[in-house]
């Protein structure tokens, strides 16, 4: 019999991790919703962002949370350029080519990182790194709480951007009806790159929120990438609410699974959900029928 004293903190921790997962997944789902492609380089680009935050702190002494206004635009520009000049150009508009090009990008980025920065894991020290807040039922680390709140706020902000701005409207128009959007004068290539850029900008934000309680290493992306895919598939490809709910579910599953089965087998629950959803309900919880 596992007691509530262990389960409750596990669930809380799972929810907190899940919010950051959701932020990573929201970027992926946005890119999928608009471009109808799966970005296999998503994990690798998150890794780049984590190193960006690390070096800003190690070389420039910038606090990871203050790095947010630097990392978000920087990753946005990187994403925009990648879509406009590499992925879009190289794939000739064929879906399977986009898949392979993003896979190629992931291989290049990950191994370049391995070559340049070696496989050492890198962490940063912050004055608040080990502070905790007592919730009565559980002690939660301060950086994790900030990450939770930050991830929720940013997901909401992104949702508002998509809902109420002209840019958001244009992106949704392209997602729904590419040709129609082009006919009313929307620059499709530009909007594709914008969407990709915004999706990657989410990774910049996620990296700033993650690093104080996490680490950077060249292969860190692959740990996230399948989890982010799982969340997107579970929530429904292209659905924001789905990504958020899916992120929280997966975070809790991983955390509680780890409690019962140990860390390595605990991840199994996540992938079993993934396979089950793909097989039985590929549209996910909140996705529309294809």
């Amino acid at each position: 019999m596992v007691e509530a004293a262990i389960i409750v903190p596990a669930i809380l921790n799972g929810l907190i991790t899940g919010a950051v997962y959701a932020l990573v997944a929201v970027g992926l789902t946005l890119i999928y919703g608009v471009l109808h492609i799966i970005n296999f380089a998503h994990g690798a680009l998150l890794m780049v962002a984590l190193y960006g935050v690390y070096f800003l702190h190690a070389l420039g002494g910038v606090d990871p949370y203050l790095a947010l206004p630097i990392m978000i635009p920087a990753m946005f520009v990187l994403g925009y350029l990648l879509q406009r000049f590499v992925i879009g150009r190289a794939s000739h508009g064929k879906d399977e080519n986009v898949m392979l090009v993003t896979l190629g990008l992931a291989i290049v980025i990950e191994n370049l990182a391995l070559y340049l920065w070696s496989s050492d894991t890198r962490t940063i020290d912050t004055p608040y790194g080990f502070s905790t807040v007592d919730f009565g039922v559980a002690l939660i680390a301060v950086p994790k709480l900030i990450a939770f709140a930050g991830a929720l706020l940013l997901t909401l902000a992104l949702w508002a951007l998509m809902r109420w701005t002209d840019l958001g409207k244009a992106i949704r128009a392209v997602a729904k009806e590419r040709r129609g959007a082009a006919l009313v004068g929307i620059d499709i290539e530009h909007l594709y790159a914008m969407s990709f850029g915004i999706g990657i900008a989410c990774l910049g934000a996620a990296a700033c929120l993650l690093l104080p309680s996490y680490y950077a290493s060249p292969h860190i992306g692959s740990a996230f990438v399948l989890i982010a895919f799982t969340i997107v598939v579970l929530g429904g490809m292209g659905s924001f609410v789905g990504a958020l709910v899916g992120g929280l579910i997966i975070g809790v599953t991983e955390s509680v699974g780890g409690l019962f089965l140990g860390d390595s087998l605990g991840q199994l629950g996540v992938f079993l959900i993934f396979i089950a959803v793909l097989l039985f309900r590929p549209t996910g919880l909140f996705g529309q029928k294809a």
Binding site: I38, L100, L103, I107, L114, S264, L268, L279, P282
Partner: protein, 321 residues
């Protein structure tokens, strides 16, 4: 028939290689090139001829390698018999993955994702279970003899992988010349149209993935016998999955000799880059990634497409104005 003759010529040309190269280095090069070509050919059956892009062929590779290792170590099965049984195990894994994902109509990026996830599930299982040696992996004790599938020189391994190459070419050749091959091509080009013409799409794809996975598992067993070691990352990690899809894409997707051409080209490039910039961890994979992107951008039909492009160009030139 012409491609059948071409197979015999290529095999005949490859046969005397061990007597032509006098260094262990080049023989090792030849073994690895053929080995990667074989993995590529396995992937090519499903990805090239069937149009179903798997990003997780490591699932089948690892199943074969682990099946062979466990059979030898825990049950004392002869490695040659283990090779055959590993092929059967791979086929079974392929049939399971195929039955589950094709039954529910997964294709395109969904199929790529689900194969990736299956490989990851198997990696975690191999990492956690005791009888697969957990994270440490399994080591085959050194006991060199041909009967034990452990050759004292690389020549024995060369002929084994050449035999597997012949098998791979033979399987693909007979697919190309069968009704099944025609159905597979129809499914690749348009599932809806194939279905409308009465092709059993599910069955066709299922046979393709089973064949593809069986060959991939044989490749895994060959790896095990060559290096006498397997661990969860080698067996089920993304490296093998990438290696398997790279050779046919570089050489020519859905062509008989594409994987062979691609694997030799990649292996040569690997050696050249290593002697030019030294072997640093990750650098050869950076190169592979760049090649993958460049090929898709500029040579979507691979190196074979280049040859076809030239003959087409010549045809245009010859045509009277």
């Amino acid at each position: 028939m012409k491609s059948g003759v071409a197979i015999l010529i290529v095999l005949a040309a490859l046969l005397p290689v061990p007597w032509l190269v006098h260094s262990d280095f080049w023989l090792n090069f030849a073994v690895l090139a053929l080995y990667y070509a074989f993995l590529g050919q396995s992937w090519n059956i499903l990805g090239g001829f069937g149009g179903q892009f798997s990003f997780g062929h490591a699932a089948f590779f690892g199943t074969g390698a682990y099946a062979a290792a466990v059979l030898q170590l825990r049950f004392g099965v002869n490695p040659w018999l283990a090779l055959v049984l590993a092929g059967v195990a791979g086929a079974a894994m392929g049939a399971i993955v195929g039955a589950l994902s094709f039954r529910y109509g997964l294709r395109g990026s969904y199929f790529a994702l689900v194969t990736l996830a299956f490989a990851e599930v198997l990696r975690i299982l191999a990492d956690a279970l005791g009888f697969t040696g957990s994270g440490v992996g399994l080591q085959i004790p050194l006991h060199q003899s041909a009967a034990n599938f452990q050759f004292a020189t690389k020549t024995g391994f060369y002929f084994t992988i050449l035999g597997l190459t012949a098998l791979g070419l033979g399987v693909v050749w007979s697919i190309e010349h069968s009704r099944f091959g025609a159905r597979l091509a129809a499914v690749r080009d348009s599932e809806e149209a194939a279905q409308a013409l009465g092709v059993d799409v599910f069955r066709t794809k299922l046979i393709a993935i089973t064949l593809s996975a069986a060959l991939m598992a044989l490749g895994g067993t060959f790896y095990l016998q060559y290096f006498l070691f397997i661990d969860p990352d080698i067996a089920f990690g993304p490296q093998v999955s990438i290696a398997a899809l790279l050779a046919p894409i570089v050489g020519g997707l859905g062509t008989l000799f594409g994987p062979l051409l691609g694997a030799v080209a990649l292996q040569l490039l690997n050696e050249v880059s290593e002697s030019a910039i030294g072997s640093a961890p990750g650098l050869n994979l950076v190169l592979y990634g760049v090649i993958l992107i460049l090929i898709i951008a500029f040579l979507p039909e691979g190196i074979f497409g280049l040859a076809r492009l030239r003959t087409r160009w010549r045809g245009v030139m010859r045509r009277p104005a």
